[in-house]
């Protein structure tokens, strides 16, 4: 899978400081994608060094995959070639932060949690609370394209990424956008980098608008229901009301059970103002007895001054009563993280629950979710697979399929033929559902055996004619993450 020869490795060491080149197999294993390790890894100390490596790779036709802290490297398809892992964690300066302008310019390798800790000092934050939060770099969070529950209020990275500096496939250091909140100069190429999994360019620096952090007293609200229809009906009532919660998600009982029993392996870091911002990282507390994991849950968070919080409490109490919720609770700063930390880390929790977990992102209009859930649950039940899901009010739905052997959540790590067949059937159902509504489906984390099945390959939408053209404009030699996306 790598064309990197010993001569290449030596040449690479001549391009940069040899101490920044990794070639021991054990160290390289850390950079493996779907079990495939690169021929070499390079850890540049500057964007200039990174560009030199890309120019070297372009000249030698070697495949480069950029990475940060590698928490989400398994996202996407198996690379066709993987010669050099370009580790950007050494690019770690906050280059510019104008708190009074609420704008920021930050190197790709800066850890997301560290960045927000800096912003919190000015009562600001970046509402990019994505999975693997405590171990993600900002560059990795953008390249992964994963959203956060806060999308409900703040939108996605597309809405607050103002510009980027990156290295294109020719090794040129380029930029697009700027550092101001409104800008129409040239093409918004930086927005294509969101979710590009390193296939278009090597992100070296990102510019964002920052936001005032929700003021102290961010409140959680959780209501439980016997059916998904009832939970979604309350969600719709909230959407149609004047309230504008920060997050608004519905989770299935299977997801709730994972929340009630599992804690993300990664340490938790405080993410809201008002939370304990001590240096010490903590393990997320488990939810208390107010949590009823046998039910569907509607989870909302909101913030504001005491009058605003009162208004939310009054309205949500009334809505939940009208919707005949089985239970409804308001969670303060000490209780809220137990659920919201897990909501943010839902994908990580699903993967930790079973190595065979197949995780998809399904995107269609929110009004279609009730029907989609009914269909998917029916098919999953018939196949004996556990369906876990988080349904955002924006219409994005994260769906996980777990083999039933992992019903106790922890021992279902084997993917046998029978399970594969069932997963394949569900995958086909998922893509058919999405296609029927002109939506979008993405296979995020799925066992490679599943991705390789002809029946699964066949259902994946053909790349639009544009995607390959865009890819080759950015990367004429197809050296960046070949095969991962395009």
């Amino acid at each position: 899978m790598t064309l990197l020869s010993p001569a290449h490795a030596t040449a690479l060491e001549s391009v940069m400081d040899p101490s920044c080149v990794i070639s021991e197999p054990q160290a390289l294993a850390k950079y493996a994608i779907h079990g495939i390790a690169p021929g070499s890894a390079a850890k540049p100390r500057s964007a200039l060094e990174a560009a030199e490596i890309v120019r070297f790779a372009a000249a030698e036709k070697l495949a480069v995959i950029p990475c940060g802290n590698r928490s989400k490297l398994d996202l996407g398809a198996t690379p066709l070639r993987y010669d050099i892992a370009l580790d950007l964690s050494g690019l770690c300066e906050i280059a510019h932060y104008d708190a009074a302008d609420l704008t920021l310019s930050v190197d790709a390798g800066v850890p997301l949690a560290q960045l927000n800790a800096t912003l919190f000092q000015h009562n600001q934050f970046l509402p990019l609370l994505t999975p693997y939060y405590s171990s993600s770099t900002i560059g990795g969070a953008i390249a992964s394209g994963l959203d956060s529950p806060l999308r409900q209020f703040y939108g996605t990275a597309r809405d607050f990424l103002l510009g980027a500096e990156f290295i294109d496939g020719t090794g040129a250091q380029v930029k697009s956008g700027g550092r101001v909140v409104k800008n129409v100069t040239g093409y918004d190429l930086h927005k294509l980098l969101i979710g590009s999994l390193g296939s278009l360019g090597v992100i070296t620096r990102l510019n964002f608008r920052t936001f005032p952090a929700p003021i102290a007293g961010t409140c959680g609200f959780i209501a439980s229901f016997p059916t998904h229809e009832a939970a979604l009906a309350l969600r719709r009532r909230i959407v149609e009301s004047p309230l504008s919660p920060l997050t608004l998600d519905v989770i299935s009982p299977s997801t709730a059970r994972i929340f009630a029993t599992r804690t993300p392996l990664a340490a938790e870091v405080p993410v809201f103002s008002g939370e304990n911002h001590s240096e010490r990282q903590i393990s997320l507390p488990l939810p208390g007895d107010w949590f009823h994991p046998q039910h569907w849950q509607l989870c909302a968070a909101f913030a504001g001054n005491p009058e605003v919080l009162d208004r939310y409490t009054r309205d949500l109490t009334r809505f939940a009563h009208d919707a005949k919720a089985s239970s409804a609770n308001f969670l303060d700063d000490s209780m809220r993280p137990s659920i919201w930390g897990r909501l943010r880390e839902a994908i990580a929790l699903f993967r930790e629950a079973s190595a065979a977990a197949s995780i998809f992102r399904l995107s269609f209009l929110p009004g279609f979710q009730a029907h989609a859930i009914t269909v998917l649950e029916g098919v999953a039940n018939a196949a004996g697979l556990i369906l876990i899901l988080v349904a955002r009010a924006s219409g994005t739905m994260y769906v996980g399929l777990l083999p039933e052997t992992s019903v106790e959540f922890g021992n279902g790590n084997r993917v046998d033929e029978g399970t594969l067949e069932k997963l394949s059937m569900l995958t086909q159902e998922i893509f058919a559902l999405v296609r029927s509504r002109n939506g979008d489906a993405a296979m995020l984390f799925v066992p490679q055996a599943l991705r390789a099945m002809p029946s699964v390959q066949a259902v994946q939408p053909k790349n639009s004619s544009l995607a390959p053209r865009i890819k080759s404009a950015f990367d004429p030699g197809n050296i960046f993450a070949p095969g991962r996306l395009v």
Partner: protein, 476 residues
Amino acid sequence: MNALVRELQKLVGQDAVLHRPEDLLLYEYDASVEKGRPEAVVFPTSTEQVSHILQLAAQNNIAIVGRGAGTGLSGGALPRAGGLMIAFARMNRILEIDLENQRATVQAGLVNADLTRAVEADGFYFAPDPSSQKSSTIGGNVSENAGGPHTLAYGVTTNHVTALRLVLPDGEVIHVGTKQGDASPFDLAALFVGSEGTLALVTEVTVKLSRKPEAIQTLLAIFDTIDDASETVAEITARGITPAACEMMDGWTLRAVEEYIHAGFPTDSAAVLLLEVEGLNETVEGQTAAIDEICRIHHAREVRVAQDAKQRELLWKGRKNSFGALGRIAPGNYVLDGVIPRSKLPQTLRHIQQLGEKYGCFIGNIFHAGDGNLHPIVLFDPRDTAQFKRAIEVSAEIIRYCVEIGGSLTGEHGIGMEKSELMPLLFSDADFALMRRVHDALNPTCSLNPGKIFPLGKGCGETRIRLHAANPVAAA
């Protein structure tokens, strides 16, 4: 009558093609100071017709420029050199309104305000609100990534577009994005918004519809110095308060507007801020009090709160018609669109004033202060060539200053042909090379809107040649 015009007429009807010089006069202008006359204008009514027109144009090697309502301020919808103009005025249908999911799909030629009109009775609106919204089209808004006063809180056009139907220069019809908004493998809709008609022609747009807020409070804060007004904006931003809108007008502009609109603006003040706060009753109350306090800290002479919808509308009418009001004072004006970091607002306004004095030009300021999006308006008499030259010089100097302090050439009007030669202030040869490869991947022969965005010679490799080599319509 030439062959292409006849073919176009066959395709879209006699009355949907203009080609006589007297009919084309109107189409050589937009709202900028640029001019450029097309050789023919065609008015399609469907995506299919647009596709056929582009195929015909491709066969005849004719340059194309798309046009919405021609309200653009950068010459984006004017041809550099002849060619065929595709005007979207007759593609103005609303194709679908889905209130449950807060989406609308419209043809590109729909007037911005008409979409809000169609959904406001149900409590919805389309958030991007350029001052031209009563005439500008949504397709034009998409092409220039238009903004407006309320984009401070709600974002510009790109934040409200989820899917596009497009026609590529060879006539291929494509969809990008999804109604919901997520798209893989790449977020292509985000690439086309703001691409100024140089990559494809937008024929249909799916947008988000926003819900009207429960409460709106409009404030007018009156200041005796411009410095106090701009310090107020800087502090509102720094305190993390995001009003729905935060607009500034200097005293000189105010007087012109007041004579025209009679909105009740104080004519003896140095600057006013027009601020709007939206949301829950409880939120609006708190934010209004906070803004009032900040205004007073910075010596506001008075803070007026609109008492009802009528007062609010009058204040906004004054703001949105301010450019028109200035038209009564000087025969020509040049509206700039620079963007600066909001923390640098006070020093920038002082600098603009000094530049005006240095060049002997009158420069008014009406702008989106909360976004740092300036609209200095340089007044001149176009018949006085020396004056016109000074106006252009001072404008370029203002824009250069915006870039120097970390800002940008344009916040919402686009580069078009007006600012293309200033692009090297922001971008390197390597940046242009990548932009050009993206351009060429979609518009390889440079037939769509040639000579825009890129400085001449840096765009399509053959821009200069093609402009003249492309067959004139008459020869086809």
